[in-house]
């Protein structure tokens, strides 16, 4: 229970259906200790969130516990967040939290408390079919979160309940009001939970002080039809994301976008918009929610949250998979997730590791 309306309603619905529900809030970071306490009232899993979750559980009539997972969060999420940026990739901490914490450590803790299943307020659906458990997109296309769930271990699907999958967000808030839940009007959290106000640059600098050195003297390079030309300096490669337009300085006839970064050379490559298009990439850390295919398969691939999936083929090999899209998409970003779909069924996913523009390791 994150302290938001979705997990609150999920708990309330299950309790009403007769499940014996226990509300668990993960304590993931010590905001007070890190000196960023006061501003993050909205933060998912913050102290205020835990208090809200507790109040909601009290209303529903179920027990609520806060579970200390600070060390695990540091180990699985924060360290990865930092090392990905250092490696020139853009991480996806929420996916790692789902994969390693919610459906990993938290699941195990819940089992230890005598629970048989784990439920969340994610917008997605679990379906039973053909003797197996499947994960499908939610009914509400705007809120669908299947993209972020590709890392769930397949064997955990049978123990997973997603009560909100068939509901629209507006309905969820209505249900929350009907139940008298304190979180009915709580706004959705948009930011990364452990970084207040989205200032990930400050966070990186604080955790990796020597990053400050690379802020000077990085080469900003433009890719043109005549080859590459140096166009100035940048503020350090980790602070640029593929597809980014802001912060590149002015003086270009048309807008320029970040195409790739080169950590070794501390170089950022920019170019015109059409250069952002790509149709082939490699993925690793692949997780399958179907029997792992040995042969190439043709599926739909989603490379960004809330962006439509595109048809393509996945060719698995020993170290991951090569993916070829049938039509190009913009800004395929190393570090981000590629989620694989068979129509609306999530069948797996992985981490984008290499694109036509960026070879990262």
């Amino acid at each position: 229970m994150s302290g938001g309306v979705d997990s609150s309603v999920a708990a309330a619905l299950l309790a009403k259906q007769g499940y014996q529900v226990v509300g668990l809030t993960m304590k993931l970071y010590d905001h007070e200790g890190a000196g960023i306490a006061r501003d993050s009232i909205r933060g998912c899993c913050s102290l205020d969130a835990a208090l809200r979750a507790q109040a909601v559980c009290h209303t529903i009539g179920i027990p609520h516990y806060s579970v200390d997972m600070i060390d695990e969060f540091e180990h699985y999420v924060i360290r990865d967040f930092i090392s990905e940026y250092i490696s020139g990739r853009t991480p996806n901490p929420c996916v790692r939290c789902n994969t390693y914490l919610k459906w990993g450590v938290l699941y195990e803790k819940a089992r230890r408390l005598g629970c048989d299943k784990i439920a969340t307020g994610h917008y997605a659906r679990i379906r039973e079919g053909d003797g197996e458990y499947q994960l499908w997109r939610a009914a509400d296309g705007n809120k669908d979160q299947a993209y972020a769930l590709w890392g769930i271990p397949r064997e955990r699907l049978s123990d997973t309940l997603l009560p909100l999958g068939d509901l629209a967000k507006t309905e969820v808030r209505r249900i929350a009001s009907e139940f008298g839940l304190k979180t009915a009007q709580t706004p959705d959290s948009q930011e990364i939970c452990f970084i207040p106000a989205g200032e990930y640059g400050d966070f990186l600098l604080k955790r990796v002080p020597h990053l400050a050195e690379i802020r000077m003297g990085g080469e900003l390079v433009e890719e043109t039809n005549q080859g590459r030309r140096s166009v100035g300096n940048h503020d350090g490669y980790p602070f640029y994301t593929i597809g980014q337009r802001k912060g590149l300085g002015g003086g270009f006839p048309e807008p320029r976008y970040v195409l790739s970064t080169d950590p070794a050379a501390n170089r950022v490559v920019i170019g015109s918009r059409e250069r952002l298009l790509g149709s082939a990439f490699r993925a690793d850390q692949i997780n399958w929610l179907i029997a792992p295919p040995r042969q190439p398969i043709s599926v739909q691939i989603q490379i960004r949250y809330h962006s439509p999936a595109v048809t393509g083929s996945i060719s698995p090999d020993e170290s991951g998979a090569g993916i070829r899209l049938h039509e190009p998409v913009e800004a395929i970003t190393p570090g981000q997730s590629a989620a694989f779909f068979d129509a609306d069924r999530l069948i797996g996913g992985g981490r984008i590791i290499e694109t036509e523009h960026s070879r990262t390791n």
Binding site: D68, K109, L113, G114
Partner: protein
């Protein structure tokens, strides 16, 4: 589902007589004790009466007793106040490793602000031995603070002997008696202490009030500025209902002490013996006899304290791991670790603290539920 409360060391229910006395004070005696008029005088009389009752229990002069907002404030006042005011005598403080966080964190704070602190280790029973304290004394030692009874394992320290050493060396001695006041005799002369902290909500009194004994002659700088209350030692309008509640609760404890101690010791021992006969691989932490009546801290091998505590809660049994103040954190108890208990064993510890909410029925229930839960956990593959 019926619930059973085994967490009296965390806090207690307010006694009915205490509630009545406080309600009466709130309804009828609402003047500010510092006001000159009749309403104020009546309030003043009641406040001083409350003070006197507690002073009598401690065997001190009422002028040496000051009301605070609780045990934490009293501890802070004792340590910060003395160290700051006696800088000319030295800058060294001695505390034990098993003190409550209110003392430990204050000691750490002082360390970060130019003072030196030594942390004395307990023996394997959790007892702070006088010669260990003696060993820590250096020329600049100004204050020693050792708790009377430990809140996590219940072990009682030889405060009288330690106080004697402090006296001989000309060093001030404070004891945190939050867990012992009302349960054990706390005569400040017998204990040889210069300061003593106590708290209302541990003795069936209200939360938000406590007191500190400060022997006349001890130099102390106050923590609150503004006002003249409590002889300027702890200013701010006095919590008269709280003080009255505290004094009534203290007197009730005093009159019930012998009988209650015997009763709780019997229940506690029955519980421990019962568990021991039903479960292998469990250990009693702390001293077997030099402990508070009613408190048992037990390590269950192979288990995680947090999971055990939550499961017991779901079955209606309220207990704690470590101390209440560190809830939400699953690091092993600093007290158990200081006693030399291995971290994995320390992680599987639960504190059961019996009190007025318990009787034979609650012990029966606990003896039924705890072994069941422990066996289930041990059978799990996780």
């Amino acid at each position: 589902m019926k619930r059973y409360y085994f967490d009296h060391s965390a806090t207690t229910r307010v006694d009915a007589a205490v509630t009545e006395a406080m309600m009466k004070a709130m309804r009828e005696n609402y003047g500010n004790p510092s006001s000159i008029h009749g309403f104020g005088r009546e309030a003043r009389v009641a406040l001083e009466d409350a003070r006197e009752r507690i002073a009598r229990i401690l065997n001190c002069d009422p002028a040496e007793l000051f009301f605070t907002s609780g045990g934490t404030e009293a501890d802070n006042l004792a340590l910060m106040g003395v160290m700051e005011a006696n800088r000319d005598k030295g800058d060294h403080l001695i505390v034990s490793k098993i003190e409550h966080h209110a003392v430990l964190e204050t000691a750490r704070f002082l360390e970060q602000h130019g003072f030196r602190v030594s942390y004395v280790s307990p023996d394997s029973y959790g007892i702070i031995q006088p010669d260990e304290v003696m060993r820590a004394i250096i020329p600049g030692t100004v204050l020693i603070s050792i708790m009377h009874a430990n809140n996590e394992v219940g072990t009682i320290n030889p405060i009288g002997k330690i106080g004697q050493i402090a006296r001989e060396q000309g060093i001030l001695f404070h004891t945190d008696a939050v867990q012992s006041f009302g349960k054990l005799p706390t005569d400040v002369k017998d204990l040889n202490v210069d300061m003593l902290s106590l708290s209302g909500h541990k003795i069936y009194g209200p939360k938000g009030v406590g007191a500190i004994y400060i022997r006349k002659g001890v130099k102390l700088s106050r923590r609150t500025q503004g006002g003249h209350q409590e002889r300027e030692m702890r200013t701010g309008t006095e919590n008269l209902p709280g003080a009255i509640g505290l004094s009534v609760a203290a007197q009730i404890c005093q009159s019930k002490m012998a009988a209650e101690s015997e009763h709780l010791t019997r229940l506690r021992d029955r519980f421990w013996e019962g568990l021991k006969s039903r479960l292998p691989d469990i250990h009693l932490n702390g001293h077997p006899t030099e402990r508070l009546p009613g408190l048992v801290n037990i390590s269950f091998e192979g288990l995680e304290g947090e999971a055990l505590m939550l499961t017991l809660d779901m079955k209606g049994l309220a207990v704690s791991t470590g101390s209440a103040c560190s809830s939400g954190q699953t690091s092993a108890s600093h007290v158990l670790l200081a006693m030399g208990i291995p971290p994995q064993i320390a992680q599987g510890s639960i504190r059961f603290s019996l009190g007025r909410e318990n009787d034979d029925e609650s012990v029966d229930y606990a003896l039924e539920v705890v072994p069941q839960v422990v066996e289930n956990f041990r059978a799990m593959a996780f």
